[in-house]
């Protein structure tokens, strides 16, 4: 319990420019409240998200990763998110197979008008991660004294 108490997860959400990013924008315009621990990274299409991004995010300190794009059929580039769907169905299974908790990776379709869905998804993922606690898997080790400002990621 003590591990997760007061813990605020770091989440990175890769959001497609045409749907989810607009949805997140709309959520902001409508002054919807959602957890501030999500960092939105705008990508041209969810199909642009390389599985490598997910691994590097975990390595660099994220507790959870989201990939969000247009609903199938709505891709700005016609077919990008169909490739996303296949890719991350496999990636999700590979992550679990390598010992990552399924709660740490989420893919979702969120359109430009679904501001509430964006808010709810982020809240749900955030809550789930809060229960899971900090991610330690795939994390690069920090060198001693790194927090004291002497430098030191990743040794």
């Amino acid at each position: 319990m003590s591990l997760t108490e007061g813990f605020e997860p770091k989440i990175i959400a890769f959001c497609c420019n045409w749907c989810t990013y607009t949805g997140a924008d709309l959520a902001g315009l409508n002054r919807m409240k959602y957890p501030e621990n999500v960092h939105v990274a705008r990508v041209p299409c969810s199909g642009r998200v390389n599985p490598q991004f997910i691994l590097r995010a975990f390595q660099k300190g994220c507790d959870g990763v989201m990939v969000c794009g247009c609903h199938p059929g709505d891709c700005h580039y016609s077919t990008g998110n169909y490739f996303t769907r296949r890719r991350f169905m496999l990636m999700k299974r590979m992550l679990e197979y390598n010992g990552i908790d399924p709660g740490r990776f989420h893919a979702r379709w969120i359109s430009g008008s679904e501001a509430a869905k964006f808010r709810d998804t982020v809240a749900e993922v955030s809550e789930r991660l809060r229960k899971l606690g900090p991610n330690t898997k795939y994390r690069e080790a920090l060198r001693e004294g790194a927090d004291a400002g002497k430098g030191g990621a990743g040794i």
Binding site: G61, E140, R143, A146, K150, G151, G152, A153, I155
Partner: protein, 332 residues
């Protein structure tokens, strides 16, 4: 002096009181044997040499060099503090450490990280009583039964090891072991003959470099798949890369093993690569081992341990180039 074999672990335990002790140990799950830090209990793996060389003790796969803060510009170097005694190191690998010393400590610049680890290292060598079929150390100027460069030399006498100190560090170990050692007059049996031999005389470096443009490099390199296996399991390959990892305002510069067989090793920022294909890269590696290093430091960088011959995925064999120089081809 002699150390009875049944007192070996006791002797190692004594060493472990004052420093880390590294031994050839099998991997927990039956993987490749390597020099690993001893937990005080495990039996050393002494049947044959390790698949991985001991160079990691002096030149780790990755090591931090200095930390920095991007906001304040503050720098702090990370010099290692290591005191390690390594037991069971073979004469070829002792020779490889002498070569690393040349590279890291000579020609005007002393590598501080290597220096720190080297000063803290005591080498306790074990002469070979059996040769693997890939061994060719005696062709490369190494005596399989004797390592004059080791701090302490031990040889298998059957039920005991002979113990001979070569240096002050070695004498300190012998003194530490005083209570365990007994007088013994047994002579170590003659060292075994190597698995095979090649001709690598003093003229080899110049003869090889004279054939820099020879078509033999095409035929030697065709089967190479361009991986870095040979470099990483070689006891003397010491090339490294320097990189950085940042998180927030903090970062660390590190160095890690690199291989001249990789395409980005010598590629410049504009894209030009002086060694663009595996032919040039393999030639550079072989010549570095057998010619360039001798021309620069007066010592051959290949010690004949045979690891690369054993492990190459394409079954390439560095000694083929020496055979080709003699007009023979061992490959049929």
């Amino acid at each position: 002096m002699e150390l009875k074999k049944d007192r070996l672990l006791e002797a190692l335990a004594l060493l472990r009181e004052g420093s880390d002790v590294a031994l050839p140990l099998p991997a927990d799950d039956g993987g490749e044997p390597a020099f690993r830090l001893w937990d005080g209990v495990q039996e050393p793996f002494l049947g044959s040499n390790t698949s991985l060389p001991p160079k990691e003790l002096l030149f780790p796969r990755s090591e931090g060099m200095y930390g920095y803060n991007l906001k304040t510009g503050e720098l702090s170097d990370i010099l290692p503090e290591a005191r390690t005694a390594v037991f069971g190191i073979r004469p070829c690998d002792v020779k490889s450490i002498e070569n690393l010393d040349h590279a890291f400590l000579e020609k005007g610049y002393v590598d501080s990280y290597y220096r720190a680890r080297r000063d803290g290292l005591t080498t306790i060598a074990l002469g070979c009583s059996e040769a693997a079929r890939t061994c060719f150390c005696d062709s490369m100027g190494v005596a399989p039964g004797d390592a004059p460069g080791a701090d302490l030399m031990m040889n298998d006498l059957g039920d005991a090891y002979s113990v001979k100190a070569n240096t002050e560090k070695g004498e300190a170990v012998a003194k530490l072991w005083e209570g365990l050692l007994s007088k013994g007059g047994a002579k170590a049996p003659a060292a075994p003959a190597c698995g095979f031999s090649v001709k690598a005389d003093d003229s080899l470096p110049d003869r090889l470099t004279a054939r820099f443009d020879d078509p033999m490099w095409d035929s030697l390199s065709k089967a190479c798949i361009g991986c870095g296996c040979c470099s990483f399991i070689c006891p003397t390959c010491y090339c490294f890369d320097i990189g950085r990892e940042n998180r927030g305002a903090c970062g660390t510069a590190f160095r890690c093993w690199d291989s001249c067989m990789f395409s980005d090793y010598s590629r410049m920022a504009g894209g030009h690569n002086p060694r663009p294909s595996k032919k040039e890269r393999l030639r550079n590696r072989y010549l570095h081992k057998l010619a360039y290093f001798s021309q620069r430091y007066g010592a051959t960088l290949c010690v004949g341990c045979g690891r690369c011959i054993d492990k190459c995925p394409a079954n390439l064999d560095i000694t083929r180039v020496m055979d080709m120089m003699e007009g023979v081809d061992a490959n049929g």
